[in-house]
């Protein structure tokens, strides 16, 4: 596994042969809403509400959903940037749900993040060389010469010019800044990278450069990605499997072709039909959903989607459906398939 350079396709077809890198079980992350005279918790924003999935080594799991569906919170909770309310996160065989202090710091070497906004996620006062070498310094590398060499290698690997080392973030374009963010994430040779909307702030021509780079790096370093985005076509391009989130829940999870070719959940179907096709000769039947996403402070009872679902029945508002495997590798949480 370590010396072999597994191709994505082989991983996809034989994925059972590969070990699970990350396992998330019944993860819940609630943000308290404080109110009243004593600032007591009066309600909870149920950002992530009972989410379970796993990612195999070398695989890319995509998470899609509309804004506020909890996909970013899921990513951040897995990295322990936010503390989970309930559930379990098992990374590489170790339970990291509640580890603290030194143990957490040590574990963080193995999972890194690429952020959405390349303008806000780089310190404007630091030289690029310092930004990229900081994670290395944090974990005990102090030989200046070796450090610089390693950073140069990284910058080179992500396609930045040599003189980037002594420049500042404002001297770079959005796409180049995102490359710096990627170099920083790569510095500690992590096993898992959580990429949270890494290209949504970029123009299409630059977006494709960054997507290509992420794919290349995955092959070269055997990386595992959790790829979070709202753009379904970008997620499909990047992922082996895709999870569709709605109001803090994963409503469907399957390999990327099944999600696109035979979406089962009514929300997934609506989401796919809503994407404008870049082809004027194709006119597709569109399922236009009514209304907006309900507030996660007070999510609807039963199935979270029943208020907008074109196929909702009476019982949908009573019991919340759980993810069930309806075909091999294809899980869906909908009463239609129970």
């Amino acid at each position: 596994m370590n010396n072999a350079q597994p191709k994505l396709t082989t991983i996809n077809s034989n994925k059972n042969r590969f070990k699970t890198l990350l396992e998330v079980k019944n993860l819940k992350t609630y943000y308290p809403v404080k109110g009243g005279f004593f600032r007591r918790t009066v309600a909870n924003v149920k950002a992530v509400d009972d989410v379970s999935f796993e990612i195999k080594k070398g695989e890319t799991l995509g998470l899609v959903g509309e804004s506020g569906c909890g996909k970013s919170t899921t990513g951040r909770t897995i990295l322990r940037l936010i503390n989970p309310t309930d559930g379990q996160i098992i990374f590489d065989g170790k339970d990291i749900t509640n580890i603290q202090g030194r143990a957490l710091r040590e574990a963080r070497k193995d999972f890194q993040m690429v952020f959405q906004d390349p303008y806000a996620s780089l310190n404007p006062m630091q030289m690029i060389g310092d930004i990229v070498s900081e994670p290395l310094k944090n974990f005990g590398k102090s030989n200046k010469k070796a450090l610089k060499e390693e950073v140069m290698d990284l910058l080179n690997r992500v396609g930045l010019p040599e003189d980037a080392y002594e420049k500042y973030a404002h001297e770079f374009s959005g796409g180049q800044r995102q490359r710096i963010g990627i170099a920083r994430a790569l510095a500690l040779k992590p096993k898992l990278i959580v990429a949270d909307e890494p290209v949504s702030a970029l123009d299409v021509s630059v977006q494709s450069q960054v997507l290509n780079l992420l794919k290349e790096l995955q092959k070269d370093f055997g990386l595992t990605y959790l790829f979070i985005a709202h753009d379904l076509s970008v997620v499909k391009h990047m992922s082996d499997r895709i999870g569709v989130m709605y109001l803090g829940n994963i409503v469907e999870i399957a390999d990327r072709n099944s999600i696109y070719n035979e979406p089962l959940h009514p929300y997934t179907q609506a989401l796919i039909s809503a994407i404008p096709e870049p082809d004027p000769r194709k006119s597709k039947e569109r399922i236009v959903l009514k209304g907006d996403v309900p507030s996660p402070v007070n999510p609807p009872s039963g199935c979270p989607f029943h208020t907008r679902c074109p196929m909702a029945k009476e019982e949908c508002s009573i019991a919340k459906p759980t993810l069930k495997e309806v075909r091999p590798g294809h899980q869906v949480a909908c009463i239609l398939y129970n």
Binding site: V206, H230, H237, I272, P276
Partner: protein, 342 residues
């Protein structure tokens, strides 16, 4: 396509001729819109695509005469709306047209409504400015308008403030405001970029309905080629302040000519195909200050660039019926003897 042939019989509603809009940076002027000419016919939906910084928003602000004062101005060219030149109009004349005959929807529904006034107040302001009606009638009309853009409980929403509405609803309010006086031309600057896909789908459907019901022309500014394919009759592709290609939507997707357009098409991941590597365009759009003065502005990033591209400025010219391209790969784009060669 029937819509297009129907539209092409009529005289243009908007005619932009050799428009140049410049921005002042460090006491020097740089053209953000550089010699742009195009027409919009009644009922036609014209898309303007390009990456950020290509001048598409500046172009629309020029047509509305809403350019930021002091740092930018229209240097030359004319913008004929219904035969009258918008550039030469007095502030009063343009105020009569703006909001009435030409209306605009902005990208950010969060920031383009005034947070301290109710939805109803802001809608009535438009109506009272341009129509001879009483306040009571205006209120009634604004409730009707809200209903028309698919807002449920319009009689309640009319007294609410923008922060009480979701992004999709605010964009609906913006649309209601824009179509309040039944404009002949609607300029929509990235109307759905800030919205989620399912809400985007609702808004696009709404715009289509209104367009055919009101016989309105739309200039749709976007970077999303999917939205273009769905909405537009004609498409203008801009790069660095210039039009590089202009044609109908079908030709643009099936027979693009300019290398930039071709690369743009290859750079988007498509849902129904599997590609390991996406096409990408090396480098980035040059900033206004670093823009090459002569030659093709795309030459530095173009895979087909020839030596002459750096000093011969390509002309936007028809290569086929209704298909204009500005690229030296096509004989028609070469300047006539003695012109522009420096």
């Amino acid at each position: 396509m029937s819509k297009l042939t129907h539209a092409s019989k009529k005289a243009p509603l908007l005619e932009v001729n050799h428009l140049e809009t410049a921005f002042k940076i460090d006491r020097e002027y740089y053209n953000a819109v550089d010699n742009v000419s195009f027409t919009v016919k009644p009922r036609q939906v014209v898309g303007i695509v390009g990456e950020s910084g290509c001048g598409k928003s500046v172009l629309s602000l020029s047509v509305m005469r809403l350019l930021p004062k002091g740092i930018s101005e229209i240097c030359s060219g004319e913008i004929l709306f219904d035969g009258k030149d918008v550039v030469k109009m007095s502030e009063n004349e343009i105020n009569n047209i703006r909001g009435k005959d030409i209306a605009m929807i902005f990208q950010e529904p969060m920031t383009s409504l005034n947070p301290v006034f109710t939805i109803g107040y802001q809608l009535q302001e438009v109506l009272l400015n341009h129509m001879e009606i009483s306040k009571k009638e205006a209120r009634q009309k604004s409730i009707e308008l809200l209903k028309g853009v698919g807002i449920s409980r319009p009689d309640k929403i009319v007294d609410e403030y923008p922060h009480q509405l979701s992004g999709g609803m605010r964009q609906r309010v913006m649309i209601a405001m824009a179509i309040a006086c039944q404009p002949k031309l609607l300029i929509a600057d990235e109307p759905t970029t800030a919205l989620d896909v399912t809400v985007q789908a609702q808004i696009l459907e709404l715009l289509k309905e209104i367009q055919s019901a009101n016989d309105m022309a739309i200039i749709l500014i976007t970077h999303d080629l999917g939205v273009v394919a769905e909405m537009c009759d004609d498409v203008i592709v801009m790069y660095a302040g210039k039009i590089v290609e202009r044609t109908d939507v079908d030709t643009l997707f099936y027979n693009p000519k300019h290398p930039y357009t071709k690369l743009l098409m290859g750079a988007i991941p498509k849902m129904d195909e599997d590609r390991e590597v996406l096409e990408s365009i090396k480098g980035i759009v040059p900033s206004l200050k670093n823009m090459p003065k002569v030659g093709c502005k795309f030459a530095a990033r173009c895979p087909h660039a020839m030596p002459e591209c750096s000093f011969v400025t390509p002309q936007l010219a028809e290569t086929e019926q209704g298909h204009e391209v500005a690229c030296l790969l096509y004989e028609t784009s070469r300047p006539k003897e003695g012109m522009n060669v420096q």
